[in-house]
């Protein structure tokens, strides 16, 4: 057994948790059910409290089972409300989880206030304490319990996605077709939501319920901006999630602030980077493409304008740079730039000073566009 320092153990827990969250997160994002993770991660508090009342032990595995069951209950309650068609889906989510969470908070503060079960820890998580909770079998220290729980959750998530990859993919992208082909989208949905619940329970024990949402949603959303292929999106989500988690750990280490909060902040930074710099869908790429299209369009306009008046009586008057303002409503600066770019592209050449004429290439381009 390799001996890890507590700092290394925390980083392993952070990385494994991020990976375990990213896998179901991909499908939550694609299925437009991202906020179910928010609802589930809050509602499981009630399950944990009830499980605690039954077992009287915060470390009991039954707590995880009870919490996961509450997660699935949340999903079914939302769907039940939805089916009445009395409230919209978003409102249904917004009605169910605050109610369950409130019930959990009241039960805790009334009956479990003095035991090791407080709302702050549940909601915010405290990764720093995770190494103190060891898994000891027969006197042998096997490492932090949380790490083992998260490794098991990660393995489960991987196994689920590998085993039901086809079903998940089809129900995610075309639920109607999946139903028609006999894939039982409802069954896949509930199995998947159970996975989300179990992941949320395992992860929120480590990092708190709000960070669960960050780890499940932000990395897959960033990956969604980077690729169009599902397998690549899953891998990228895991990579981004793990990188954000580790960066978050170091941020918290350097600034001496909340680990969970720093990890959430870093998932936000990752998404912001993808939002700005994604090669095809990033804000920068979009802006550059839009600018290029604007210049290309202007050059084509110029070529068409010149072609229109080429050889006509008013050509000497119309085909001047100075006239573009009157005709095409271009500002002089803009017109000068367009002409320079069009010259560079070999569409136009200056006959003398102000006077412009099309090159052969320019003539072909303009004719093609107007379809002559």
């Amino acid at each position: 057994m390799i001996a890890l320092s507590p700092e290394q153990e925390i980083q392993w827990i952070a990385a494994v948790t991020a990976a375990a969250c990213a896998i179901p997160g991909v499908f939550l994002v694609l299925r437009r059910m991202a906020l179910m993770s928010d609802a589930i991660s809050h509602a499981i508090l009630l399950g944990i409290v009830l499980g605690f009342f039954v077992t009287g032990n915060v470390a009991s595995p039954l707590l995880i089972a009870a919490a996961a069951a509450t997660g699935v209950l949340t999903v079914s309650l939302v769907e039940l409300l939805n089916r009445t068609r009395l409230v919209k889906e978003d409102a249904a989510i917004g009605l169910v989880f605050p109610a369950l969470f409130s019930l959990g908070v009241i039960l805790i503060s009334r009956y479990a206030g003095n035991v090791h079960l407080d709302v702050d820890a549940v909601l915010l998580g405290e990764l720093a304490f995770a190494p103190f909770n060891r898994w000891v079998v027969g006197g042998v220290d096997l490492g932090p319990r949380t790490l083992w729980v998260m490794v098991a959750v990660l393995a489960m998530g991987l196994a689920f996605v590998l085993a039901f990859y086809k079903e998940l993919k089809l129900t995610t992208f075309d639920a109607a077709l999946a139903g028609a082909l006999g894939f039982a989208p409802g069954l896949v949905h509930y199995a998947f939501m159970t996975l989300v619940s179990v992941t949320a329970v395992g992860a929120f024990d480590a990092v708190g319920s709000v960070l669960v949402v960050a780890l499940m949603i932000a990395p897959p959303a960033a990956a969604y901006l980077l690729t169009d292929r599902l397998p690549r999106m899953i891998v990228l989500s895991v990579v981004i999630g793990v990188a954000s988690a580790l960066a978050g750990y170091w941020m918290s280490y350097l600034l001496d602030v909340s680990i969970a909060g720093s990890m959430a902040t870093m998932t936000g930074v990752s998404f912001a980077l993808a939002f700005l710099f994604a090669p095809e869908r990033g804000a920068l790429a979009l802006a550059r493409r839009r600018a290029r299209q604007r210049w290309e369009f202007a050059q084509t306009m110029l070529a068409i304008h010149l072609l229109n008046h080429e050889g006509s009586a008013d050509a000497a008057e119309e085909n001047r740079e100075g006239h573009l303002h009157a005709h095409l409503r271009w500002q002089p600066d803009f017109a000068r730039q367009v002409v320079r770019r069009a010259q560079g592209a070999g569409l136009v050449h200056r006959v003398d000073g102000d006077h412009l004429a099309l090159t052969d290439r320019g003539r072909t381009v303009a004719s093609e566009v107007i379809g002559v």
């Binding site: 991202a34 928010d38 019930l103 503060s109 949402v213 949603i217 897959p220 936000g268």
Partner: protein, 383 residues
């Protein structure tokens, strides 16, 4: 209902009303519920129920930053910070949805969790400062209604009145924006500006509740009253007023109930009161309520079945050449299972007559009714 508890409440109530803290909390919660409830109607109708959740979570770093930058613990300063952060969060959501293929649910999830995480980072940074212990910013996480002061109540009421005033002033425009923004744009209304204004109003109605209810549960104050009110009316004005009333009612009852028990936090109690209101509305609201709906469905099914039995009787009568010809109940049961019950109902209306202990025939009035309803005319009954 537990009588002892009721009697206890009856005895305690006058005491409670005299209790300064409770009166402050109840007043604050009522004002807050009225404002967030009525303004939440717009959010719910615009399918923005969860935007409230994102705004309230996003407010946390704003509160922390306001404290870090000004060193002030005054509720007004902190709430201003909350409002700015919540507003920025909303703009980011709109920006992500507008310019990328990331959908609204993911954008909301990212903003709420990342802003909240940033808020935690700032809170832990504040805790290391020497003046931290008095900052009491934790109260914004889950809300601590007991920390409400009279001037906080005034602030809730004042800011809430401003938000309600804006909504009243732009009533027509907001209604248009809610139900048909495209039509509004075609009429020349500045829809984008109105959208920003309505969002600002929503942000105000959320941040004024953070101290009482907390960032985690505040979204329920926006969604639940409106969802309950929606069941009782189809009119926007009625819905807004009713939602405000529900919010205020839940605020007061939550404050009172939580003061009756020991260690019962106010925010969650208000939310549970709201949940009860929602459930009652979903079940019993006239027209839309689930109970009435099922009553109506049963009545419809019953009427259709009765029509079928009447039609059967009519067809038999014509086949056998006369209304006075009686038929065994068993035969009618065979044609229409469960006919026995409908026969009694038909007899009560004077459309069928029991000729024998076990035989029925149609009456002339029944035949006329069958004719009028076009039932049983084309039916061929095998003997």
């Amino acid at each position: 209902m537990d009588l002892d508890l009721l009697r206890g409440a009856a005895v305690a109530l006058p005491d409670l009303l005299g209790d300064y803290t409770l009166r402050t909390v109840a007043l604050g919660a009522a004002a807050l519920g009225a404002v967030s409830g009525s303004l939440g109607s717009f959010a719910v109708l615009r399918k923005q129920s969860l935007l409230g959740d994102a705004i309230s979570h996003a407010a946390l770093p704003g509160i922390a930053l306001a404290f870090l930058l000004t060193g002030s613990k005054s509720s007004l300063v902190l709430i201003l910070g909350a409002a700015i952060a919540g507003w920025i969060g909303t703009l980011i959501v709109m920006r992500i949805v507008g310019t990328t293929r990331v959908k609204e649910d993911s954008a909301l999830g990212i903003v709420l969790s990342v802003f909240f995480g940033l808020g935690l980072v700032l809170l832990t940074a504040i805790q290391k400062r020497p003046d931290a212990s008095q900052a009491g910013l934790d109260r914004f996480l889950f809300g601590q209604a007991a920390t409400l002061l009279y001037r906080d109540v005034l602030m809730i009421a004042g800011l809430g009145a401003v938000a309600l005033g804006i909504a009243a002033l732009f009533w027509k425009e907001f209604k248009l924006l809610t139900f048909d923004p495209d039509f509004g744009a075609s009429l020349g209304f500045p829809i984008r500006a109105l959208d920003v204004l309505l969002t600002t109003v929503l942000v105000i109605s959320i941040v004024i509740g953070l101290q009482t209810v907390g960032v985690v549960l505040m979204s329920a104050m926006v969604v639940a009253p409106a969802a309950a009110a929606r069941q009782w009316t189809d009119r926007m004005g009625g819905m807004v007023v009713l939602a405000g009333g529900f919010g205020a009612l839940a605020g007061v009852s939550g404050a009172v109930v939580s003061s009756l028990g020991e260690r019962v936090p106010t925010g969650p109690t208000i939310v549970l009161s709201l949940t009860v209101l929602v459930l009652v509305s979903l079940a019993f609201a006239p027209n839309r309520g689930l109970v009435w709906e099922s009553v109506r469905q049963r009545a419809n099914r019953r009427r259709l079945h009765m029509d079928a039995v009447l039609g059967g009787l009519y067809a038999l009568a014509r086949q056998h050449g006369g209304a006075e010809h009686a038929h065994a109940t068993a035969a009618l049961e065979a044609l229409h299972p469960g006919a026995r019950h409908e026969l009694d109902a038909l007899a009560a209306r004077g459309w069928a007559r029991q000729t024998d202990r076990d035989a029925w025939c149609i009456t002339p009035a029944g035949a006329a009714e069958a004719e009028r309803r076009h039932v049983g005319a084309g039916e061929e009954v095998e003997p």
